[in-house]
Every structure is written in structure tokens, then in C-alpha cells.
């Protein structure tokens, strides 16, 4: 029995019961992508936009495995380093599948894959003007996060650490501050490496987490996906339950009277 069963997450015009957004990259094959995404209990999955291989048009496709009727497909702009490419990419995605909810990321650097926040703001403004519902990848700066909310993004997605690094949350304080001020959902994106990282992100108050590499690169992808599903539920429940205070010193769990040697 947990109170989280009817705990809904609204992003833009969509409503979710799962708070784990799955990434679809890096899996060894589409069958594993599908199995892990199911084990994770995800309801939304990111996809990238790339050129069709003209020479082999019949090659099987991710969407042959991930049913757009069953999952909310979230096109992203992974690989875009300027606003123009990002906007162009998402217009194509919308035409391809009619998806209006999108994940914007405009990168600043191939080594860290950190966002270029100035270009990101520019792209977000253009997309919002074009009626997209924009979920936006950003750094962990609360000032930038608030600006992105103010211009109309439907969700702000601060990074925990570099994409694919698996190092968890570099700056929990900033994630907490971003959440405390936000009216839109905060999704921790990038950096989660194992279950406790996902639980920690949710305990800080994140409304959801986006996980890809940690599931796709685990030795047992589906088992890790189930771990992530449980960890996100655990972290959410712990956040709602209200944790005990931290104490410098000890506090006995057993009564300190009634001893037989008193």
C-alpha cells in the first residue's frame, strides 16, 4: 500500500502516473529497448531525429518496437549545437508523428554535453511561439531555470551531471532550489547512474527523472530498469512522507529505562 498510486504528474497537456521518463538510446537492440522500457514502467520515451538510410529503406525501426499508441513519444534535439538546428529538427519531428510535446536540448560542448543556455533560451522562445510544448534541458542554475519557466517551457530539466557520466547529482542544493521555486514540473535529466541516484533526485523534490544510459549500459538492462522503477517510486514516496531530521549524534531506538540491572 502506497499513497503514490494516485499521484499524477501533469506535463503540458499530458498526464502521467509514472515519474520515470525513459531514453531509447544506446541499447544493444530494439528488443532490449522495448523490454527495459516496459520493466521501467515508463509512459514516455525520448527519440532522436536522424536521416533515413536511403539505401536500406526496409531496415527495422525503433517505432516498430515502441508503440506510439502505447507510449508518449518525446522527440529530442540531441546533437544540436545551435537554436536553428534544434528548431528545424523539432518541426520535422512534429510533422513525422504529430508530436507537440518535445524535449529541447541545445548543447554547448561535445566533451561535457552541457547546454548552451543562451542558445537554449532563444530556441525555446521560437518553439513556444510556434505552439510546441517544450520540455527543456538546462544546467543546474536556478536563475536560468526560472527564466525558462517564465518564457513558457512546460517542464524544466536540470542536469545532475554530464549526460552518460553516471555520477549522480553534482549539486543537490541547486536541484532543490530550482524545485522550490518552480510552478512547472522539474525533471532531473542526465547523470543518474544507479538506483540510489534516482531515489535521491526524487527525494530532493524532482517531479520526475529521465534515465537512459544507466539502464542501457547495465549488465542486466531489464533488472536495472526494474530497479529504477522501484527507486523512483521509493524516492517519491520518501519525499511525500517527510523524512526524519538528521542528527549529529545518536538517538536510542529502544527505551532507556526498565533495565533489569537498574
Amino acid at each position: 500500500m502506497t499513497l503514490t498510486d494516485n499521484d499524477e504528474l501533469k506535463i503540458g497537456s499530458h498526464t502521467f502516473h509514472s515519474r520515470l521518463i525513459a531514453g531509447s538510446g544506446k541499447y544493444k537492440d530494439f528488443a532490449t529497448t522495448k523490454a527495459a522500457t516496459e520493466a521501467a514502467g515508463a509512459e514516455m520515451i525520448t527519440v532522436a531525429v536522424r536521416r533515413v538510410n536511403i539505401t536500406d529503406p526496409d531496415k527495422e525501426n525503433l517505432l516498430d518496437y515502441i508503440d506510439p499508441e502505447k507510449y508518449v513519444i518525446l522527440p529530442n534535439t540531441a546533437g544540436c549545437f545551435n537554436a536553428e538546428d534544434a528548431v528545424r529538427t523539432l518541426k520535422l519531428a512534429r510533422e513525422a508523428g504529430g508530436w507537440n510535446l518535445v524535449k529541447l536540448e541545445v548543447l554547448g560542448d561535445t566533451e561535457t554535453l552541457y547546454p548552451n543556455v543562451v542558445e537554449t533560451i532563444t530556441a525555446a522562445e521560437q518553439l513556444i511561439a510556434d505552439d510546441f510544448e517544450v520540455m527543456v534541458y538546462t544546467n543546474d542554475d536556478p536563475i536560468v531555470a526560472r527564466r525558462l519557466e517564465e518564457i513558457g517551457c512546460v517542464a524544466v530539466m536540470p542536469l545532475g551531471n554530464p549526460i552518460g557520466s553516471g555520477r549522480g547529482l553534482a549539486n543537490p542544493f541547486n536541484i532543490r532550489v530550482i524545485k522550490q521555486r518552480a510552478k512547472v514540473p522539474i525533471v532531473v535529466d542526465a547523470g543518474i547512474g544507479t538506483a540510489s541516484d534516482a531515489a535521491r533526485a526524487m527525494e530532493l523534490g524532482a517531479d520526475a527523472v529521465l534515465i537512459n544510459t544507466a539502464m542501457a549500459e547495465a549488465k542486466d538492462e531489464c533488472l536495472m530498469a526494474s530497479a529504477m522503477r522501484d527507486a523512483v517510486r521509493a524516492g517519491r514516496a520518501a519525499y511525500l512522507a517527510g523524512r526524519m531530521p538528521k542528527r549529529a549524534f545518536a538517538s536510542a531506538s529502544s527505551p532507556t529505562e526498565g533495565y533489569i540491572w537498574d
Partner: protein
Amino acid sequence: MEIHLNGEQKQVTAANIAELLCELGMENRMIAIERNLEVVPKSKYNETALSNGDRIEVVHMIGGG
């Protein structure tokens, strides 16, 4: 007629986008088309004529985080 298709030169006989997709064997796919940096709506595939030198992009969704 020669067009730039997904970054490569290609000889095609198609007169418009709809015919191009047939020629490529890509009808009824979940794809999107860009002609000279402009997205072409599915509803306009027939009426969107190809011209020599057009820059055509045909994209689809793949795995990505």
C-alpha cells in the same frame, strides 16, 4: 533530375515528393520531409514539385536519450 537527398547527390525521375517516396520505397512510413529547409506537410506531398538541385531531407525517429 538531380537532387541533394540526405546530403548526397541523387538522380531521380519523381516529379514531386509523393513520387519520390514511391521511388525510394518509403510510402507510409513515420517520416518527415524537408525541401530546401522547409518542412513539407504530408498533405502537400502530391502538390510539392521537385526541381533540379533541390535539397531534400528525409528523416525518421531513432533511439536517442
